[in-house]
């Protein structure tokens, strides 16, 4: 079983790596979305490996089911370029600066992660859905209510922003 977990981890890591490269590098935004969906599914697999099945299901339901469809709507509602939205090459200094940002951040953070290992338990703990629900209704109830308010306000704000007045009124 230990070997199986390692193989699955490697597979999901490969899916995440390839998907994120496609999501960042594709010329066409629809192809980038396919890469993003692959990445999200890979992260869902990682959640499965971490013994948090509920998180994996929520990842697929919220991200793949809702957020990706929203971004597809955003692509549809804006005028798409036939030869790809990102086809024109960006200036050299922009690419250099992007690479510099990635290298510096990646260097510092990976150095921190690699030189300061935390004490781990090795085996992921199991949290049942009941415990999660009790936590949401008990000690973390305020955060639960606040996130629903945030969602409501963002929904109302989106409707308000995108509202198109009819001519003549």
């Amino acid at each position: 079983m230990e070997e199986m977990a390692k193989v699955a981890f490697g597979l999901y890591a490969l899916i995440i790596l390839g998907g994120s490269l496609l999501a960042v590098g594709a010329k066409s935004l629809v192809r980038a979305m396919v890469g993003l969906i692959a990445t999200l599914l890979g992260v869902a697999g990682m959640y499965m490996l971490l013994n948090s099945v509920f998180m994996a299901l929520m990842q697929i339901l919220i991200y793949v089911g809702a957020v990706c469809v929203l971004i597809f709507f955003a692509i549809m509602l804006t005028k798409a370029d036939p030869e790809g939205e990102e086809a024109e090459s960006s200036p050299l200094y922009q690419n250099v600066l992007a690479l510099l940002a990635v290298l510096v951040t990646g260097g510092v953070l990976s150095w921190l992660v690699l030189t300061r290992p935390l004490a781990t338990t090795g085996v992921p703990v199991e949290v049942t859905i009941e415990k999660l629900g009790l936590g949401l209704l008990g000690p973390y109830g305020l955060a639960f209510e606040l996130i629903s308010v945030v969602l409501l306000i963002s929904m109302a704000g989106a409707v308000l922003l995108a509202w198109e007045r009819r001519n003549g009124k």
Binding site: L29, M58, I62, A74, T78, L132, A162
Partner: protein, 102 residues
């Protein structure tokens, strides 16, 4: 290398891909995709740190759930902003939407 370090390196890959995308993309939708990548990396890192250490595992999972909720709210608002910009400027390229550029 401990399992936690490996998970955190994967989360770091997601963060770096998103960072590269958001600095290099030329359309607003491409930047939105990069932001989603970075938020996913944050969620993965939180859940891995909570599940593999003696810390409170329930708190970690709930935190990652809140990250997902905020990502959904953010995507909704950004969609509306992109629609408004596409209507007003006729394009969502960042080179077109640069009225404030000096």
């Amino acid at each position: 290398m401990s399992p936690l370090t490996m998970y955190q390196l994967v989360a770091l890959i997601l963060l770096l891909a998103g960072l590269f995308g958001i600095t290099q993309r030329k359309t607003l939708v491409g930047m939105l995709i990069s932001v989603e990548l970075m938020l996913n990396g944050a969620g993965l890192s939180i859940v891995a740190a909570a599940q593999l250490t003696p810390a409170n595992a329930m708190l970690g999972q709930l935190g990652a759930l809140f990250v997902m909720g905020l990502a959904a709210a953010e995507a909704t608002l950004v969609l509306a902003i992109i629609v408004v910009i596409a209507r007003r400027f006729g394009s969502t390229k960042t080179s077109v939407v640069s009225t404030l550029k000096g």
